[in-house]
């Protein structure tokens, strides 16, 4: 069945596909060896991956693994004796964890050597003390997405606060949206992140200052869970199973009129191959908890880092990273994300993040023990919204669970 001709044909097709992919700016790295990169799966990372792969030549192999399990895989890879990846794309949430475990490699010397060549800007450098540990390239946030046409039809203004949002939803439902609101409420990481946004927007604190002791079992947390419960009433009954990709689809298919979603998905709304709502979605900062308050979301940034324990050529790895986030890569993918380079031209997709930054929204909690609290809250919030536990009990359980895990990781004595 598969004779030589078939293979020959397949080979030609494969080669054709390779050659047909958009031609990236020429990458001229003269170093040799292998560079393995891992990154989280969303549109701009695919774009960066292509730029990095373009650096591959007879002497240099570049492998880029893009996966939605990158967060988990990176932490385990960097903890290994020798990391299988020389470069990793991480969000600020993961970067602080790796930093606290002493698993990141300072790149200060390489930054100094190549700063001019790659036009690295100071705001892109993540430094602790005098050492550079990461090169940031984009800002991200979860913010409001809304259907302009639907809001106009229902006579609703884009909401500035959650009470306004909750008041608008029945009107949108009456206007024909069976499930007008959507957000990633999937049990675990996603729902914990939504909780964090609303709780931070209310000025909530997670820890006692300067220590790892929990401080999230309080009235503000109960109020945040209450808001989420009310929102769930306007979501698909499948709410607790909705991950980011499902929320993206809900918008693209025209099922949702308003929702909270990652800025990195904004460009996908106008992709006419998969979206029925091209140019109908508008973007704004997340609603505040109370009138005049800060938007209830947090600013994230994404960076590339190198593990402390690695073999192979660190300079080659650094250069591949530089090519991936070069000015040319930005120019050929300007609308894919909110680039941190000063040459970035804001567009309609970047409005949500710009508003969030201008409104001085909270920073995503960057304590290395926050991910433990976040994990405990992911279960608690889901239990409350599923109706299996009252908020007070769920928060008390989460607090207990967090203290246990923080003790095991040595953050609480």
């Amino acid at each position: 069945m598969f004779n030589r001709r078939t293979f020959g044909l397949l080979g030609t097709i494969a080669l054709g596909t390779l050659l047909a992919s958009p031609v990236m700016a020429k990458c001229a790295i003269t170093r040799t060896g292998t560079v393995d990169v891992i990154g989280n799966a969303f549109p701009v990372i695919d774009h960066i991956a292509k730029a990095m792969q373009a650096c591959g030549n007879s002497g240099l192999t570049v492998n880029v693994k893009v996966t939605d399990k990158a967060r988990v895989e990176t932490e385990q890879a960097f903890a290994a004796g020798t990391s299988p990846f020389e470069v990793a794309h991480v969000s600020n949430g993961v970067l602080v964890n790796l930093l606290a475990k002493g698993q990141l490699q300072p790149m200060t010397d390489l930054v100094n050597k190549y700063k001019a060549q790659y036009k690295l800007e100071d705001r892109m450098l993540v430094t602790v003390g005098n050492e550079v540990y990461g090169i940031a390239f984009m800002a991200n946030a979860q913010h409001l997405f809304y259907r302009k046409d639907a809001l106009e039809k229902a006579g609703v203004q884009p909401p500035k606060t959650y009470p306004e949002l909750l008041a608008a939803l029945p009107k949108l439902k009456a206007a024909g949206f069976e499930t007008p609101f959507t957000a990633a409420y999937k049990t675990g990481w996603d729902i914990a992140t939504e909780f964090t946004n609303i709780y931070l927007g209310d000025g909530g604190e997670f820890f006692a200052p300067g220590s790892a002791m929990p401080a999230f079992n309080n009235a503000k947390a109960v109020a945040a869970l209450d808001t989420m419960n009310k929102l769930k009433g306007f979501m698909s009954p499948n709410a607790l199973a909705l991950a980011t990709a499902d929320v993206t689809t809900a918008f693209q298919q025209g099922q949702a009129a308003m929702g909270i979603l990652w800025a990195s998905r904004a460009a996908a709304m106008d992709d006419d191959k998969v979206s029925k709502v091209v140019n109908q979605i508008e973007f704004a900062a997340a609603p505040a908890v109370t009138a005049g308050g800060k938007p209830s979301n947090a600013i994230w940034w994404d960076a590339f880092v190198m593990p402390k324990q690695m073999d192979g050529d660190r300079e080659a790895a650094f250069l591949v990273m530089m090519e991936g986030i070069s000015e040319d890569t930005m120019k050929s993918g300007m609308t894919l994300t909110n680039w941190l380079r000063s040459g970035f031209q804001p567009n309609r997709h970047s409005k949500g993040v710009a508003e969030t930054i201008n409104a001085n929204a909270a920073m995503w909690p960057d304590q290395p023990y926050f991910s433990l609290a976040h994990a405990a809250l992911g279960k608690a919030a889901s239990d409350v919204l599923a109706g299996t536990k009252p908020a007070a009990q769920a928060l008390a359980d989460a607090e207990k669970e967090y203290v246990q895990t923080a003790k095991e990781r040595g953050f609480i004595k």
Binding site: V128, S236, A375, K379, A386
Partner: protein, 351 residues
């Protein structure tokens, strides 16, 4: 057989089993008895990020003379196991007073049992165990019956149809598990193909992930869809070996179709039924992907998913090892009756 020859046959597999099964298992046991973490100290630190500079006291890894982070290792003994089992929470659940029902009247024995069951399964490990066992108990008989029916069906169709039918039946078996579960999620979400079909057929709008019952049903259905082909292919192969003499003799003796199946085919396939049951029990007990994709642990959790969450959320290899060991222990308990039966059969065969 001379001992040397015996060794020559057995040694390679003994070495392979030691290296691939015993050694990793010993490693996991070792890990589960310890705890370790990177030693950090709260130090005033200046962190500069794209959105501003923050100066505060935060944990910083302590470095040794060579510049490597200092790792603290602590002997934990059974502590990881106790944490995973939730022994403290379990004791609380056991001692809670349930003599009064929510209405104020004395609680009946059934109400008390239900409340106790709810409180116990609220402790993560026991909740996960409950659904893992339920999943195993429900899927096993269904896939045995379905797989057998499909095998009988395919066996009796004309030659030309067999190829395509076998291919179609094996499809769910070939689809990689996570990809399978992911794409299946997109079949069952709002306005997805299957949801829309069911709506058009008059079943109304079904939200498959709306509560514990629907989520569990969906996970079990997907499990059946994925495991049936395995039963089918094994039994179908077995059907090819049913001796035609016996079958013909049964027909001549006046046995009808059902009697032939009952007294000739099923006894002939019995060892294969035992084999697929054994394999499926182990597979079902490890149910993971559908939990990860559909429920994330809400309404339906599994032991494998619990171990994964400990590893991915807490980066705690030690506690995850304890969870994995407790799971293996469960499989062993589950398999004891079948292992005893196989042992007896083997003894009889060699007697």
């Amino acid at each position: 057989m001379p001992f040397r020859t015996f060794l020559g046959f057995v040694l390679p597999s003994v070495v392979a089993m030691l290296m691939l099964i015993a050694l990793p298992l010993a490693g996991v046991v070792y890990l589960s008895l310890w705890n370790s973490y990177t030693k950090t100290n709260f130090v005033e630190t200046t962190v500069r990020t794209p959105i501003g500079t923050r100066v505060d006291r935060r944990p910083v890894a302590e470095l040794d003379a060579a510049g490597n982070p200092v790792i603290v290792r602590e002997w934990y003994g059974s502590r990881n196991f106790e944490t995973v089992l939730g022994t403290a929470n379990l004791a609380d659940a056991w001692e809670r007073d349930r003599t009064v029902a929510p209405g104020g009247q004395p609680a009946s024995a059934w109400q008390r049992f239900k409340a106790l069951f709810r409180d116990v399964t609220n402790v993560k490990f026991w909740g996960a165990l409950e659904f893992t066992l339920l999943y195993t108990a429900v899927t096993t008989p269904i896939i045995l019956v379905l797989g057998f029916l499909i095998a009988m069906g395919v066996n009796s169709v004309v030659r030309e149809l067999k190829g395509p039918l076998i291919f179609a039946s094996l499809l769910p078996f070939i689809v990689t598990p996570v990809v399978g579960s992911l794409s299946i999620k997109w079949l069952f979400l709002d306005n997805a193909i299957i949801t829309v079909w069911l709506e058009q057929l008059g079943f109304g709008k079904i939200y498959f992930m709306q509560n514990a019952f629907t989520t569990r049903l969906l996970i079990i259905l997907v499990g059946i869809w994925k495991a049936t082909p395995f039963v089918f292919i094994v039994l179908y192969a077995g059907l090819q070996t049913v001796p035609s003499e016996t079958r013909e003799a049964a027909i001549i003796d006046g046995a009808n179709r059902w009697q032939t199946i009952r007294h000739v085919i099923i006894p002939h396939l019995m060892p294969l039924f035992v084999f697929v049951t054994l394999i499926h029990l182990m597979d079902a007990y490890r149910v993971f992907e559908p939990i990860l994709v559909f429920s994330g642990g809400q309404g339906a959790d599994s032991l494998q998913h619990l171990a994964y969450k400990i590893l991915s959320d807490e980066q705690n290899f030690h506690k995850a090892s304890a969870a994995a060991l407790l799971m293996v222990l469960g499989i062993v308990v589950l398999l004891i009756p079948l292992i005893i039966k196989t042992y007896k059969d083997q003894r009889r065969a060699f007697a």
